[in-house]
Point group: C2
Chain length 639, copies 2
């Protein structure tokens, strides 16, 4: 071949204190691409089913992709892939920032981590080499302290650190991993996996240039993006101006801002926790990920009523909704403080907010008492209580120890009917998009192998009215040209969901930024194909790229099937079948019968059998026949 | 929308003597595209199952596509779509030449013909208008006589006529329709359908310009094609120089030239019926279809031992193999005479050759005697007998009356074990590519809804060694990048077959010329997308275009399922499981167990259930939920 993609994969065995380097062939890269598609490949091949996520046989993969690291907006992400201690299912958590590109500059597409270090350790990767180093001195420290100490120890302030805080060390089941203190591989407990392996952090520094077949084309598309973004993004209510917090007001106005543990979708205090309010009060500046011109990340600072340290960034929409409205809290500084603590201790803000909201509803329903909370008045709207709970969860103090297990396990421990307040799918807490309002979200939460995940839910973004056409434009070139109503579920909606899901999953395989890649006018799918071609030199097509998406979804499902998940796990919490209590969407709920029909139709649509197991033929079509053999070995095709 | 595709469909009711015009919306065109994808839509919607193909409820569709008629090589084709009187299954026969473009110039994308004329009639279409005219005077005439008479009657020598000869009138079950006397909508008996409707011909003349959104791009890609073709096609053994007859020698040398009713794949007289021999002896010139620079069509003339009229063109590879080697005949003039007669009487050369070869083997095995043949010595290699049989079939004389029914029915009538010499799939005679040698052909014949069809068999062209890389290049952009052995069937081969099939089916939907579109360097798939976009103005993608392909295949299957076809119909004639008798591929055969496994895997791969019925989910994914409802109505999902 005139040009081949050459990449390296770093393997780390913490038990044996070994690091090795592999160079997969081009066929491998062209099949698995990167991200969780690549990661799932290793989990399926090298990890037995029913492994304890916290055991030494558990594997965690840090994965870039064949295109990450180029100096183009939207290409700065990377993923961590593992068996979630929260759900027992496969997990894919992504973050942008600087870690992904730096890993590529250091010469690696991915890191496969196995085993368990006897003593606290961190991994130091530099220009094609890697070593496991002692982390005894930084164990027990916050993410910020740890980052400082590592940089000082290695004598380079530009080192990029992805690490965990005390939450990960304490095996909080939704502990996250942070890079640069504010870019979170947020959901599903990757931080706890690192904690269980005594792996405090991964430090990376690289000086390698990204190899590009046709740099000129790459840069010209990048320029096109920036021009389009500047021209078309709403300046007053857009990402650059307000960050993702721009969505607070429109979500509330359309009746889908999660409020008081999803009892309603309308929050009277929304304006006080909005992106506009943030801009006008505590915002220091917007920040960008590597090579991005959008600058959607927030940096906030405050002294009253809480001191908020700007090094930990500022809250995203999800954080505001989950720790704010969903806890009934209308104090933006309290939310920002909770966000700071989450980043400091390494906690997923979404699950943290969900667990606190769950606890608040249990408290108001006398399932939890003041005796349990240590005299904290854990009612909705108590900002102090909310902030205090974040600390308690991270440190597993008092009731925090139960909540650190996630709502599913917590409800089981608490009993007394707490289950009905435990809003999760497959064990993952429901994030800040209401599945009762948007059919894409209904289907996404129900059918995702990961659980209730807003990124892979393929929500159609209609919560921000101005964005609707952008989302619709994204799938028009795939032939999805008819406009559809937001909430109803029929065969056409399921089809559109499937197509969206495929596009999203392809973007996730390549670790592309959701925000940069949703509006079709920033990057068209055609430009994306051109970009992949220009970077890798592959004579590829949109068809092949979308097959990445299908392959990733199929491997995720196969992983779960092998772990024992069944059709019964594809379902929503009971509250979603009950009406929203107030607001513009009052009374709206998911129709159970239609959802059941939709699940069956979706299974057939994607090539899964009646039990939800990907068929051998479909797996063969995705060049994953080895996965079919694996499922066969575990009797998953028997009936 | 800034630009929309606007098209017209002509409806003809021969019983009511009515012509009407419809203008489907853009959504329709973007879903069904053209060709047999569009045609199958009408057959499924407007024709009940179990209709007699020769009854007045039977429908035949002449279909162009949204891109046909542009002045670009490869875009001159059109299709006829109907329920085959030979197989009872759906039929898709295509021809290039001039009829398709002329129909577009006259303002129509397709003609839907229903009913039955009381008296012989022909259809006259001119610039957006149409009338049904009396054809009493031309009934009983050859295609050539009929064309002359129509042109004279209408006073325009440039009228394009698609019509039938006596074979169609006599309801020979594989009678064809010819345009310009040498471009055959060949297989499956469309000519007999016209005959049954007393419709002798369709005459078209148009002056409308083809609407193109971006003419400049269209023309620049066309120029690119011509440059590539001139530069890269082998000049000595290529299409321009030898026509499709270029394949005779390489097919023979690789042991897959059907010989003596597929007893062997090596013919000692191959050189005498080769493209090279044709060029050196009887060739008058090469001819081109509309706007094509390839000129692959042959025109031949001879006086000895037969007089061959050049107005009927010359034989293609398939014709030479089926009427030549497969009948053991090594006389190129005899083959050319038989070709002339087939075009004159309107007979499919492939099925005609297959039926004669079948009769010859029956004769040699004493199932047919001289009494049956009218004293003709019907042994393999008797050129005179072969030529005579063509006449007898067209006129249904003597044994010809039985052979006019096709090998399946003929074998049933003859009994005495004739079945084992009747080589057909679903009733369609096996054409000149040996399914024992190429796995793509094995799968194509077995799984095609049409029957044993070499075009839709997605053969991988490896019979012409120089062409292998071109075929492989075609699917590389889809991610099929590994080289595979020719004959073996495994999951990767099935996958590659599926992808080829999809590409072919997409090209068939758009009525693109197989020969112009197989070598990837003439047109890349990317250029095809650009071309469709430039013509229609649609912001489309390769994904959407390939869904045309899937949609067409799914509708074909649904049609057959509704007609009562089952999994049992997906199978090869017994001879294909027996070894080739001699030549380079001596002993080679299809493995029954592997084929059975392949069928099951293929079903799953394309979204069909275990019975081979397209699932509701897959149909919904293709936006064909209405087809699922139709199958449901006929209890096809019950078990």
């Amino acid at each position: 071949m005139p040009f081949g993609y050459n990449g390296k994969i770093l393997r780390v065995d913490l038990s044996r204190k070994e690091v090795t380097v592999e160079e997969p062939d081009e066929y491998f890269y062209r099949t698995y691409g990167g991200g969780a598609c690549l990661g799932a490949h290793y989990l399926l091949k090298e990890m037995s089913p029913e492994v304890d996520p916290f055991g030494s046989d558990s594997i965690i993969v840090f994965a870039g992709s064949v295109v990450n690291g180029v100096p183009v907006p939207g290409f700065a992400r990377s993923a961590i892939v593992f068996k979630s201690p929260l759900t027992g299912a496969i997990a894919d958590s992504q973050a942008a920032g600087y870690f992904g590109p730096e890993l590529k500059f250091a010469g690696f597409d991915a890191i496969i981590i196995k085993g368990k270090s006897k003593k606290p350790a961190y991994l130091w990767i530099r220009d094609g080499e890697a070593e496991i180093r002692d982390a005894s001195g930084i164990w027990g420290k916050t993410t910020g302290e740890a980052q400082d100490m590592i940089r000082t120890e290695l004598g380079d302030e530009r080192i990029i650190v992805a690490g965990i805080g005390q939450a990960g060390e304490n095996l909080v089941r939704y502990a996250c991993v942070l890079n640069n203190l504010k870019h979170a591989y947020g959901r599903l407990g990757g931080g706890a996996i690192m904690g269980s392996k005594n792996l405090k952090a991964i430090a990376v520094r690289g000086h390698k240039k990204i190899n590009m077949k046709d740099k000129e084309t790459v840069l010209s598309i990048a320029k096109h993006f920036s021009t389009n973004f500047m021209k078309e993004s709403p300046t007053d209510s857009g990402l650059r101006n307000l960050g993702t917090a721009k969505d607070v007001i429109p979500q509330n106005e359309t009746g889908q801002l999660p409020t008081r543990n999803f009892q309603t979708g309308y929050f009277e205090g929304a304006e006080k926790i909005s992106g506009q309010r943030m801009r006008d009060t505590i915002l220091v500046r917007g920040e960008a990920c590597y090579a991005c011109s959008v600058r959607c990340k927030r940096v906030v600072k405050a002294t009253e009523p809480y001191e908020v340290d700007p090094i930990y960034g500022g809250p995203e929409y999800e954080t505001i909704a989950m720790l704010g409205s969903n806890c009934g809290v209308d104090d933006l500084v309290a939310v920002s403080k909770a966000n700071e603590l989450c980043n400091k201790y390494g906690l997923d803000t979404i699950s943290t907010g969900a667990n606190i909201a769950f606890a608040m509803e249990c408290y108001e329903n006398e399932i939890i008492s003041k005796k349990d909370t240590g005299e904290i008045d854990l009612r909705f709207g108590n900002a102090d209580a909310m902030v205090k709970m974040v600390e308690m969860i991270a440190k597993r103090e008092g009731i925090g120890d139960i909540l650190a297990e996630g709502v599913k396990r917590a409800a089981e421990k608490l009993g007394k009917g707490a289950e009905k307040f435990a809003l999760h799918v497959k064990g993952e807490e429901v994030p800040a998009h209401d599945p009762r309002v948007q059919a894409h979200v209904t289907l996404g939460y129900t059918l995702s192998s990961i659980g209730a995940d807003h990124i892979r839910a393929a929500h159609d973004g209609a919560f921000t009215p101005g964005w609707i056409p952008y989302f619709a434009e994204r799938v028009k070139p795939l032939g999805i040209i008819e406009p559809l109503e937001l909430s109803s579920i029929d065969h056409r909606k399921i089809r559109r969901f499937r197509y969206f899901q495929n596009v999203f999953s392809m973007q996730d395989t390549l670790n592309l930024c959701l925000l940069a890649f949703l509006p079709a006018f920033y990057f068209t799918l055609g430009e994306l194909v051109d970009m992949v071609r220009a970077i890798t030199g592959w004579e590829t097509s949109l068809w092949e790229l979308l097959k990445f998406g299908e392959r990733r979804v199929a491997m995720f499902r196969a992983f779960n099937v092998r772990e024992g998940f069944t059709k019964e796990d594809d379902w929503l919490p009971e509250r979603m079948f009950e009406g929203i209590l107030s607001g513009p969407r009052k009374g709206q709920k998911v129709d159970k019968d239609k959802l059941r029909e939709a699940i069956d139709l979706y299974y057939e649509m994607v090539g899964w059998n009646k039990d939800g197991v990907p068929t051998k033929g479909k797996l063969a079509e995705l060049d994953l026949f080895w996965v079919a053999k694996e499922l066969d070995k575990h009797d998953k095709y028997k009936k």
